[in-house]
């Protein structure tokens, strides 16, 4: 399995919080449970202002097959169902809950018993009803990945513990602290998909995690693979190429090459759901960057406003000039801390003025660095130039839709070109053209 994925870059991994054990926080005064925190149709609210809700109680149902349900992270009162701050910077409809501090648990017994005995088909339903989405960042509904069509047999499950984004250490800590839960989820996934083999993929900068996973009682067919550090190895298609040499066909999914990839956090959440009936109401995230007084890995309720997390951990050392939702390579810049933690929030990074190199975007000098690092073998400079000069119809010819927006091209660009921004703009223009 000594493969390598194509291209890639070596940003400084800055995993400063990797020795900080996962810890909890005081509950927030308000929880903002956005109806759009996953890929797919928004969830449909099932509660309204004034309703009392209990911990784990379903409060929103899936708005389609590719969608998901939401559950109350604690007991309290629904204050409103109204547009609220969202990491995207827009206001998006959310269920706002005021916790009562009692943490009273919803009676799950009227739902059929969760548990291993019920078998793979029932597990899928439990996972769907538990609102589980991919926790690596993309937040794709997990039950969809667990339901491949009949003609796509799955021979291998990959537990993605790569965590190739710099600064983020949530998955690393989870592997160190709860390897059994990850392996439990992995076993469930193997059973549900009929896969005989599974690999836990870990990058070489987390040797302790690999050690812990290896020492754990691995189910039959499961192995731990240590991969050389390289961004974006955690991207599904790149990870599959690195592990097996298989290339997911263009426009296809990992299931097209017989593989399903699940983030280690997602696997642990699947384990909770099936064995304990616990829906996804919290997640582990990394608070990092140079500004936080209390950088670390925190278990937080979904919906917790970011301000609360920062205040609870001692605030910032100084004024922030860059706030990032997620990692520095693919994360989104935030205008403020009003938005909440969503199921896809892997981290919050904060930097002060002058810490990130100021950019001076200039014309492409055709050095070719972007072409050599592009994991999709695209010509990012051409895509960037075409989008800049508004030659949108030509973007398709250069396979713009195969771009995974990993940012490797912009990372190496000596002319500081915002290639990812150009490409996103180009994709949006193409979509608009199709719509007309």
């Amino acid at each position: 399995m000594a493969n390598r994925f194509r291209g890639g870059v070596h940003p400084d991994d800055s995993k400063h919080t990797s020795t900080q054990a996962i810890s909890g926080l005081q509950p927030a005064e308000n929880l903002i449970l956005s109806l759009s925190q996953h890929i797919g149709a928004p969830s449909r609210p099932e509660v309204s202002a004034g309703d009392r809700v209990l911990k784990y109680q379903p409060i929103a149902s899936p708005g389609g097959f590719v969608s998901m349900s939401l559950h109350a992270p604690t007991s309290g009162t629904v204050k409103a169902v109204e547009p609220a701050p969202h990491p995207s910077g827009r206001f998006v409809t959310a269920i706002i809950i005021e916790p009562d501090g009692l943490d009273e648990v919803f009676d799950l017994t009227d739902k059929a018993d969760p548990g291993l005995e019920r078998g793979p088909e029932a597990w899928k339903e439990v996972i769907r009803d538990s609102g589980i989405v991919g926790m690596g960042g993309a937040a794709f509904p997990t039950h969809v990945k667990l339901s491949p069509p009949e003609d796509k047999p799955i021979d291998m499950i990959v537990a993605n513990g790569v965590e190739c984004e710099p600064y983020l250490t949530a998955d690393h800590r989870l592997m160190l602290e709860s390897p059994d839960e990850i392996l439990g989820g992995l076993f469930l996934a193997m059973e549900m998909l009929g896969a005989k083999k599974a690999v836990v993929a870990i990058e070489a900068n987390k040797p302790d995690a690999a050690e812990v996973m290896r020492k754990t009682d691995l189910p039959e067919g499961v192995s731990v693979e240590i991969l050389p550090v390289m961004y974006p190895q955690g991207a599904e298609k790149q990870l599959i190429q690195a592990l097996t040499g298989r290339e997911v066909p263009t426009g296809g999914l990992p299931m097209d090459v017989g593989i399903v990839v699940q983030n280690v956090g997602t696997l642990a959440a699947m384990n909770h759901a099936v064995k304990e009936g616990r829906p996804m109401v919290d997640r582990i995230m990394t608070l990092g960057g140079s500004l936080p007084n209390g950088p670390g890995n925190y278990l937080v309720s979904i919906g917790t406003p970011l301000t609360h997390i920062v205040e609870q951990t001692g605030g910032f050392k100084g004024p922030a000039s860059r706030l990032i939702n997620g990692g520095p390579m693919m994360g989104q810049a935030l205008a403020g801390l009003e938005s909440p933690v969503t199921k896809g929030t892997s981290g919050l990074l904060a930097f002060g003025p002058g810490e990130l190199r100021p950019l001076r975007q200039r014309a492409c000098i055709r050095c070719g660095s972007c072409v050599s690092v592009c994991p999709a073998s695209l010509m990012p400079h051409t895509l960037g130039n075409m989008a800049e000069f508004q030659l949108f119809d030509q973007l398709r010819e250069f396979n713009i839709s195969d771009c995974i927006e990993c940012g490797s091209c912009a990372y190496v660009c000596p002319a500081d070109r915002n290639m990812v921004q150009f490409i996103r703009h180009g994709k949006a223009e193409l979509l608009a053209m199709v719509g007309k």
């Binding site: 066909p249 810049a333 912009a410 000596p414």
Partner: protein, 333 residues
Amino acid sequence: MIMSTVLAPSPHVRSSVTIETAMYGVIIALLPGALVGAYYFGLNALKVMAISIIACLAFEAMVLKIRGKDMSPLKDGSAILTGLLLAMNLPSNIPWWMTVVGALVAVGIGKQVYGGLGYNPFNPALVARVFLLISFPVAMTSWPVPKPLSFSLDTVTGATPLGEMKTSLLMEGNVGAAANMSLVDPLIGNMGGSLGEVGALALALGGIYLLVKKIISWHIPVSFLVTVFGMTGVYWLIDPVKYAPPTFHIVTGGLILGAFFMATDYVTSPITGKGMVIFGVGCGAITVFIRLFGGYPEGVSFAILLMNAATPIIDRYTRPRVFGYPTRKEART
């Protein structure tokens, strides 16, 4: 607590490599070659370099002003590099005003007319060199005889080894003594020629620096040099009377300068490794054909300019196979 945050697109971290890193890196790599030029051609060499660099910067500033642009490109190092490369392509006794004309052609016509750094299809310094060669053939081919550490501005002129060989071939029907001379002089620079045509060793040292610093990749210099060596070697094996040995071809003329510093210009050479190899082989083949069968004794600049013109089409046909698409073999079956 929050001041104003920057809403920049991802990625939020960037490598430290910038245009300046590359440009000043190439300038540093040229210094050993420039020093050898200064050692053998004295003050004149320094004069040509100074005039060329200053004139390139001045014309860059002037054109930027006319185009209504800000002056920041002056600091990116590209004009200085063009000036230095142009100087390396000139004989040290060239009249000062010709150097100035060359700088105007390089920066004005070779680069800014197209929109500045990044948009020029041809290597600006080579556009200027060829312009001067065609316009002022006598001044451009009267090379001073090297005189170590001479600070006199008077010089005796002579031909380059490649020129001597061509003359001998035309007059006597054989490559003559020049072609079979010891390689020591051309290696250390003790021969007639433009500033960057002498001192193959010092120039190659700079080239290796560029490779080690990863400012350039091996594709172009290696394919260029191997092609010249291989092709001239075949001809030499066929008829050593009419053709000089391949080692002679490697160390004389502008080959080392061209292969490491001019053909590798990012803007005017192909993007992919495969494209670069095609480009390098093309440069090598055209150089050999001009040297062996053409009217000019030296063909490196013409070869690179011709391949510059071929760069867009090379790029078009060497696009990498996109991830997830069938390989050529798979597509056939």
